[in-house]
Amino acid sequence: MTYLTEHLTFGPSTSSNENAGALPGPGSHLVISDCLASPATFTLYHLLQAAIGRRLPVIFIDIRGEGKKSLEAVLRRLGTAMPKSSEIFSYISPVSFPSTNVEAPEPCLFDEEGRHDLKPLYARIASRISDQDTLVILHGLSDIMSMGIPTQDVHRFVRAVDAAVRKASCILVTTLHADGLAEGSLTNDQVLLEKLLRSATAWWRVEELQSGRSGDVHGEISSHPLATNGNETSVPKSHPLQYRLEMNTVKVFAKGTGRGYL
């Protein structure tokens, strides 16, 4: 059980496996949006811990390029060792400039003539999806769009991955930025978010505090089930959970109870 399990569950935990409710059900699609001052990486760490704890295969597509070593170090801090086998933990870091590394070439988002091409990335993901209940994480969809790839193409790519994931009864998690969501401005990120929410089963919305950075509270998170038969925990935006990142864990608490009192 990790720091978010008791607050944001996707169903009851069983006595045999306490991480059972920490992950969405097979064939579901969880969208996570975040803000610059409150990145949602801590939610990914929670999902990764839950999947590794249940010995589920993981495909982590690091579009943002935060690095495998960093991920390994963070998971170790949180008390979980990253599986060594690439069959269980598959790390894909697409590049935007053709790599000269011939030993382990990563899929490139652009072809040699500079045109965007998401097919190699999709092919790599599809080739790794084999087992049931595989956790597929697309981390950083906004970064693809910021490099000039149109929203429609990114949405088409996500729909293709989603279809492959549903077909194999796996779990899809996508992250993107939604900085202007509170302001109501219509950016590419917001357009993609709206499109994704039409087919997603749940949405975790991570936002910063309106008052700016704080040492006690690092942000707020609300959960919005989107599927009609979903049994996810609902945390409305009006009463969000607050969290505080610490060196080796994350504290999640009700609004205004950061230090254990109102």
Binding site: E113, D143, L245
Partner: protein, 486 residues
Amino acid sequence: MPSFVKRTTASSNAPPAGTTPALSTSIPPLYLAPTGIPSLDDIFGGGMPLGNVWMVLTPDRHTNWSRIVERYWTARGLVDGQKGLVVGEKGEDIVRGCMWLDEARSESSARAGSESEGEEAGLKDVSALGENRPKIAWRYDGMKKFETGIGKGDRGELNLLKTIPQSTISSMEKQKIQRYIPLDPPNNIAGSSSLAWSIMSSVLSQIQALLHTHNDSQVLRITVHNLGDIFWGSPSSAQILRFIHSLRSMVRDRSASVLVAMPADLSRSPPTSARREGSDESASSSREWIKQLAWSVDACIELKGFGDDPTLPPVFHPLHGLLTVHSLPTTHHVLPPSYKHSSLLGLSTSTSTAGRGGGAGENNLGFRLGRKRFSVETVHLGIEGGQGERRTEPVPDTSLLSAGIERPAQQTSHETKLQSGQVDITTPGQKPSMSVPPDVSGKSDISGVKKRVKGVRFSAADDTPRDDGPEGRVKIRHDQMDLYEF
């Protein structure tokens, strides 16, 4: 054989020269490269992690604060024996103007604290008193001196008064410790690529080739100068962000760090609409552009000088601009190390730094350029709420009085008292009252008003030396703010 055997560290795991291990233990190990500015290292939680890309935005058109940060970044690497690479037009000029070590730094000047020479002089006086220093309340006696900055760091301080010797530059260039990548457009522009992307891909290819042969036991510091300006072929926002993404993936997990300096216009808004590609960029606003830039790198700060607004320097004296932290490095960490270790940010929740914030909101930060160094400090209003000089009475309007012009009827009570010339002076023994007759004829004797009585300064224009001896000190009476005690 004993039960416990100390594991010897392999030589291959030794930190690269000029780096320090991260302040919190990390497996795999994380090493930090100092930026050259100790106060900026404090904000980043000890330095810039290797494999990271950080960005400096300087939206002020009239100054070029990013250049001094670039020079600190480059000079620090050269001092520590690291390799350097400057990408951009006239990169040699950046290196030639680098500051250098102050070898003759005295021990006394190594003391941490504010750079203000006036403040330091005053503190020296107090410390020199030793046992004879005045007694103050016990609860304040052991209190640490109020500081707006941090110490100068353990490493040799780079001094702005020193410039890197030309012989040193020549030697480093000859040994290929310091290299440059100029922005020459390639002869053959492939396919549908624009000029800007051709330049960028040429730069990326050269960096990739350099990293391919780079030994990770030595740190490579890359400085990208004015990314996206006219010398880069005026790229679109998508091309700029793609360049950064490519650069980031190249240096990730390598012993290299990159500083990207943005020009003033691109630090404020995205490239102009004429340069944009596709309709998706039309919705880009300035705020979204800054957010995109901050997301694209590991750490992003903004140095906004006061050059655009001449009213700000006196308000924020002695600062030269404000610093905004858009994003902080989080490599190998759940919590950004800056939150825990930075004194300047003031976000630490530990009790030891409670005085710096104690988990409350973020401090406002500014920067200043002294004679010897550039530093980041917290922004504070003065004791008097931002007024550098306290005026105890309004300056008489001599021009109006001498011209015989009557004051308007609507006056405050304070002004009325001054017009009547009534000044109450209290002494320990008596409360004399000096009365200056009001100017009825309109021919007021200003010199008489300026007349100095027992250390009382009646006018700001009084240029006679002030007697602030034990008898001449003026205090404000708290019961009546317009009376003064001597």
